[in-house]
């Protein structure tokens, strides 16, 4: 298995050297992380997708243009830049939303959009195959925000059993989703 730090440093150097493949690797590795962060911060799916694309490209540009390497890891640098860009773009989007429906800076990355649909379809498939009780537990937990005791009360189960079932269900989902998360990541895809 690759050493993440060594690979990340190498990736940063290659980006600065103008390596186009490195730029694509960067997008594959960090776009979804930035997207998740934008979704959680903005609570607006559509805006988050647009902001994440713009932010990924913007972070890449800033990294490429910077001359000196920070002592931080690449992930920390990306997170730091991404937070700043997401906040800036979200503010920009707010301003635009008030004045008009003009879209944000146009950044089209069709492959990422396709991957997003594939990801959703896979999750849909996994959920459809899940046991009804596990779906109920996940729904009550993630949609209704209930704790294990409350869920146990609803389903006639002990909280510990609910916790175990939920933990197993999340693990199964994570294992199924992880290959998609890693698609085209550091190993070149």
């Amino acid at each position: 298995m690759e050493t993440p730090v060594a690979t990340a440093e190498n990736l940063a150097e290659r980006i600065r050297a103008g390596d186009r493949v490195a730029a694509l690797e960067f997008v594959s590795r960090f776009y979804r992380r930035i997207l998740i962060m934008a979704r959680i911060r903005l609570r607006d799916e559509h805006l988050a997708m647009r902001v994440a694309m713009s932010a990924t490209v913007e972070v890449l540009r800033r990294l490429r243009d910077r001359n000196e390497l920070s002592q931080q890891t690449l992930a920390s640098e990306v997170l730091c830049e991404a937070r700043r860009v997401v906040d800036d773009l979200a503010a920009e989007a707010d301003d635009r939303a008030e004045s008009s429906r003009e879209p944000l800076r146009q950044t089209t990355v069709p492959d990422l959009v396709t991957r997003e649909f594939e990801h959703e379809a896979r999750v849909r498939q996994i959920l459809d195959a899940a046991r009804p009780v596990d779906r109920a537990i996940l729904g009550m937990s993630l949609v209704e925000g209930m704790g294990t005791a409350e869920i146990g009360g609803r389903l006639g189960m002990r909280p510990e059993r609910v916790r175990r079932r939920k933990s197993r269900a999340v693990k199964r989902l994570r294992i199924a989703v992880q290959p998609l998360t890693r698609v085209g990541s550091m190993d070149g895809g």
Partner: protein
């Protein structure tokens, strides 16, 4: 922040539900930006949350399903009603001219 702590605290779930403090958010984001395992958990939880919200219809149905004790009482009540109905019917047939 490390994976063990994140898992035992249910940090990923609380992150997805927006229940972390600002400091915890910063700390967890710093962690999952560099950790494939925790990022996969966040991805899975968020994707599932999103899908289940889309077909929210199925959640209340399952959530309101009676628990085993309630189901047992319902079965007993149904049996009593059925027995009574049959008894009345038999009595009516026997008593009829």
């Amino acid at each position: 922040m490390d994976c063990g702590r994140a898992e035992s605290d249910g940090t990923a779930e609380r992150y997805v539900l927006g229940r972390l403090t600002a400091t915890e958010v910063e700390e967890f984001e710093s962690h999952y930006f560099d950790c494939d395992e925790c990022f996969a958990t966040v991805e899975a939880l968020r994707a599932v949350k999103c899908q289940l919200e889309k077909d929210r219809q199925s959640v209340p149905q399952l959530a309101q399903r009676p628990n085993p004790t309630t189901r047992w009482w319902l079965a007993l009540a149904a049996a009593v009603v059925a027995t009574s109905a049959v008894s009345i019917l038999v009595a009516w047939v026997l008593c009829s001219p």
